[in-house]
C-alpha cells in the first residue's frame, strides 16, 4: 500500500467532487433536506383527534362528561351538532375522525344506576390511528367511570377505597414523542442512501469516460485505488452524519444522552459498509445510470422497510424477519436509538456492533475482489 498513490487518488476525486455542483448538492444539500422533511412529516404522534359531538341529553351530567374530552390534549372538539346527517358528512369528508352521540336519557340513566349508553362512531380507514384514538377514548371513559364508582363507594364505607394503583414509569421517552424515535432511525436511512448513491458513480464514471483504461495501465494497486476513492466520500459522509446529529439535537430537540465518541465510531463502521456497497455496485455495473438506480433500490427500500425504522420487526412474517438480519441498518438503528435515548454502551450494544463490523468487512473484501484491473 503506497500512501502517496492513495492520497493522489483522494485529492483527484475530491477536486472532481467540488467542481461538480450536482455531486456537491447530492453530498451536502440533499441529506439536510431529507432530514428536515422526514423529521417534520414523519410524525406518528396522534393528538388533536377531531371530534364531533351530538349531545341529545344536554344536562349538567353530559356536559360534565364531555369536559373530560375537552380537557384532553388528544381530542379536539370541532363542534356540536343535532343530527346524524351532519355527523356522517363530517366523517365522510375527513373533517372529523370521531363522532360521539350522547343519548337523551344519559343523566337519568346515570342517576338511577342503569347503564348509560354513549355512541362513538369512528373512522376506521386508517386502522392504526383509529386503534390509538379508540384507546384514548376508552381511557377517558374508564377514568370517568372509576370516579363515579369511587364516589358511590365513599357513601357506603367510611374508609377510602383503595383500588389497584398502577404506577407506570416511562423510560427514555416519557412524553411518547415519536420524533425521538424517528430521528435517530432517520439518520441511518439518510446515511445509507446518500453514501451508497455517492460512491455508486465513482468507478462507473471512470469506465464510461475512458479514464479507467488509462489508470489501470499504471502500477497503481487495486486496494490503493479503492481506498483513495473511498476516503473523500468517507469525509463527506462523516460531515453529513455530524450535520444530521446536530439537526436532530437543535432542530428536533432529540436528546443525545449517550457517548458521542461511541456513536461516531460505530457510525464510521456503518458508513464504511454503506459507501463500499455503492462502490461495489459501481464496480460491477460499470455504468453510471444502472449503478445509481441499483444503489437507490438496494439502499432505500430495505433500509426504509426492513430495518425496523418504520415497521416493527417482530410484527413481520417470519420469512421477512429472517431477511432483516441481512440489512445492516437494522443493527445501526438499534445502536443509534440505544446511544441516543438510552445512553447504553458497548456492554449492551456489542452484538449489533459486531454484526455491523462483520457486514463492513465482508462488503469491503468483496469489493476489492470484484475490482479488476482488466478491460474485460
Amino acid at each position: 500500500m503506497n500512501l502517496r498513490r492513495v492520497s493522489a487518488i483522494s485529492r483527484k476525486e475530491f477536486i472532481q467532487i467540488i467542481r461538480d455542483p450536482r455531486s456537491l448538492a447530492l453530498a451536502i444539500v440533499i441529506p439536510m433536506i431529507l432530514i428536515v422533511l422526514f423529521g417534520f412529516a414523519l410524525s406518528l404522534d396522534i393528538d388533536n383527534i377531531p371530534l364531533a359531538i351530538w349531545d341529545r341529553d344536554n344536562t349538567r351530567a353530559s356536559v360534565d362528561f364531555l369536559l373530560n374530552f375537552k380537557n384532553s390534549k388528544y381530542f379536539q372538539i370541532i363542534g356540536y351538532y343535532d343530527n346524524y346527517r351532519d355527523l356522517q358528512r363530517l366523517i365522510d369528508s375527513g373533517k372529523a375522525m370521531m363522532a360521539m352521540v350522547i343519548e337523551k336519557d344519559f343523566s337519568q340513566d346515570l342517576l338511577s344506576g342503569r347503564p348509560a349508553p354513549v355512541q362513538l362512531i369512528l373512522d376506521g380507514s386508517d386502522s392504526n390511528t383509529a386503534t390509538i384514538a379508540l384507546g384514548y377514548a376508552n381511557a377517558v371513559v374508564t377514568q370517568y367511570n372509576t370516579n363515579i364508582i369511587l364516589n358511590i363507594m365513599k357513601k357506603y364505607t367510611k374508609e377510602n377505597p383503595t383500588p389497584v394503583n398502577l404506577q407506570s414509569r416511562i423510560w427514555f421517552n416519557p412524553d411518547f414523542q415519536s420524533k425521538l424515535f424517528i430521528v435517530p432511525g432517520l439518520i441511518a436511512v439518510i446515511i445509507m442512501i446518500i453514501s451508497s448513491l455517492l460512491t455508486s458513480l465513482t468507478v462507473a464514471r471512470e469506465w464510461e469516460r475512458g479514464t479507467m483504461e488509462q489508470l489501470i495501465s499504471t502500477p497503481v494497486r487495486r486496494a490503493e485505488l479503492l481506498l483513495g476513492k473511498f476516503l473523500p466520500y468517507f469525509a463527506i459522509g462523516f460531515f453529513d452524519l455530524i450535520m444530521s446529529v446536530l439537526l436532530g439535537v437543535f432542530a428536533f430537540g432529540v436528546p443525545m444522552r449517550g457517548s458521542v465518541i461511541l456513536l461516531l465510531i460505530l457510525s464510521s463502521v456503518f458508513l464504511t459498509g454503506a459507501l463500499t456497497q455503492g462502490m461495489l455496485i459501481s464496480i460491477v455495473t460499470k455504468n453510471q445510470r444502472t449503478a445509481s438506480q441499483l444503489a437507490i433500490l438496494s439502499s432505500f427500500l430495505p433500509t426504509f422497510l426492513l430495518s425496523g425504522f418504520t415497521y416493527e420487526i417482530f410484527n413481520m412474517p417470519k420469512v421477512v424477519q429472517a431477511l432483516t438480519f441481512l440489512i445492516p441498518a437494522r443493527y445501526y438503528i438499534i445502536i443509534l436509538r440505544g446511544i441516543y435515548l438510552k445512553a447504553v454502551g458497548l456492554d449492551v450494544l456489542w452484538r449489533p456492533s459486531l454484526l455491523l463490523c462483520i457486514f463492513a468487512f465482508i462488503i469491503v473484501s468483496v469489493a476489492i475482489r470484484k475490482f479488476k484491473k482488466k478491460i474485460a
Binding site: 475512458g210 483504461e213 488509462q214 502500477p219 484491473k373 478491460i375
Partner: protein, 246 residues
C-alpha cells in the same frame, strides 16, 4: 535486446476473433507501427500487450515481463495512451500531470525537471492552469503523451494518438517521438494513417485480427513494386481476401 515479443497472441470475444495468432518482435529503441483499417484488432493488441486484457491463448513479453503472469510489474516500465482521451477533463493540465507523477511515484528534483521538460516541449507550459476538457484536440493528445512519459517508461504504447489532430500539432507530436527514440525508448504505434506508418522503422499490417506482413516499409514497397505503402497495403489486402475467398 528484444523489447516486445508476441507469440501466437490470440484474443476472442464470444465468436469474434479480434486478434488471431499474432507473432512478432520489436527490438529496443525501435518505433514499430501497427497499421490496419478500423476494427482490424489494433486496440485489442495494445490492450493485450499493456496487461489490461488477458489473451485467450498465446503469450507475450514486454521488457522481459510476461503480459499475464507479470502484468502488474510490467506496468512500471510502460507508458500507454489509449485511443480515447484518458485524462480527467475536469482537472487542469497541471493537476493531471501531478496526478500521474504521484501514481508513478516520481519525486524530488527528477519530478520538477521532468514536468518542466515535458510541458516545455509539448508547448503546454502556458496552459498549466487550463482544464484539460477545454484544450484543443492536439493539445489534449500532447497532454496525454506528457502524462504517459512522466515516469520515463522504457516502452511506449500509443493507440492512434494523432486521430483528429491538426497537421501542425501532428508534426510537433512526431518531433517528441523522434527525441524519445534518441533516448532508446521503444515505441509501439498503432495508426490507420499510412503516411505515419512510413515514418516507422518497421510496420506490421494487421487485417481482421491477422498480421499479413511485418517488415521495413521500403522492403514492402519494393516487393509489391508500389510507390507508397498505401498502394502496397491495398495489394496485400486484396491478395489475402481473394485467397480467403477460396
Amino acid at each position: 535486446m528484444t523489447s516486445i515479443k508476441a507469440v501466437s497472441l490470440t484474443r476472442k470475444f464470444d465468436n469474434i476473433t479480434a486478434v488471431d495468432d499474432l507473432s512478432f518482435e520489436v527490438p529496443e529503441g525501435e518505433i514499430f507501427g501497427l497499421v490496419g483499417p478500423d476494427g482490424a484488432g489494433k486496440t485489442t493488441t495494445m490492450r493485450l500487450l499493456t496487461g489490461i486484457l488477458e489473451p485467450t491463448s498465446g503469450e507475450g513479453w514486454v521488457y522481459g515481463k510476461h503480459i499475464v503472469k507479470e502484468s502488474e510489474s510490467l506496468k512500471d516500465n510502460i507508458g500507454y495512451m489509449s485511443q480515447r482521451f484518458g485524462l480527467y477533463e475536469d482537472l487542469t493540465v497541471m493537476e493531471n500531470v501531478n496526478f500521474y507523477a504521484d501514481i508513478y511515484c516520481v519525486s524530488g528534483n527528477e519530478r520538477s525537471d521532468r514536468i518542466e521538460k515535458l510541458l516545455g516541449f509539448s508547448g503546454l507550459t502556458p496552459f498549466k492552469g487550463r482544464l484539460a476538457g477545454k484544450l484543443s484536440g492536439g493539445m489534449k493528445q500532447k497532454l496525454g503523451l506528457a502524462c504517459a512519459l512522466i515516469h520515463t517508461p522504457k516502452v511506449l504504447f500509443l493507440d492512434e494518438p494523432t486521430n483528429g489532430v491538426d497537421p501542425v500539432s501532428r508534426r510537433d507530436f512526431w518531433k517528441i517521438l523522434y527525441n524519445l527514440l534518441k533516448e532508446k525508448v521503444t515505441i509501439f504505434y498503432a495508426t490507420s494513417y499510412l503516411d505515419e506508418a512510413e515514418r516507422c522503422k518497421r510496420v506490421g499490417l494487421i487485417h481482421k485480427g491477422k498480421m499479413l506482413r511485418c517488415d521495413v516499409p521500403d522492403k514492402i514497397k519494393e516487393e509489391f513494386k508500389a510507390k507508397t505503402l498505401e498502394e502496397a497495403f491495398i495489394k496485400i489486402i486484396n491478395e489475402w481476401e481473394s485467397h480467403a475467398g477460396k
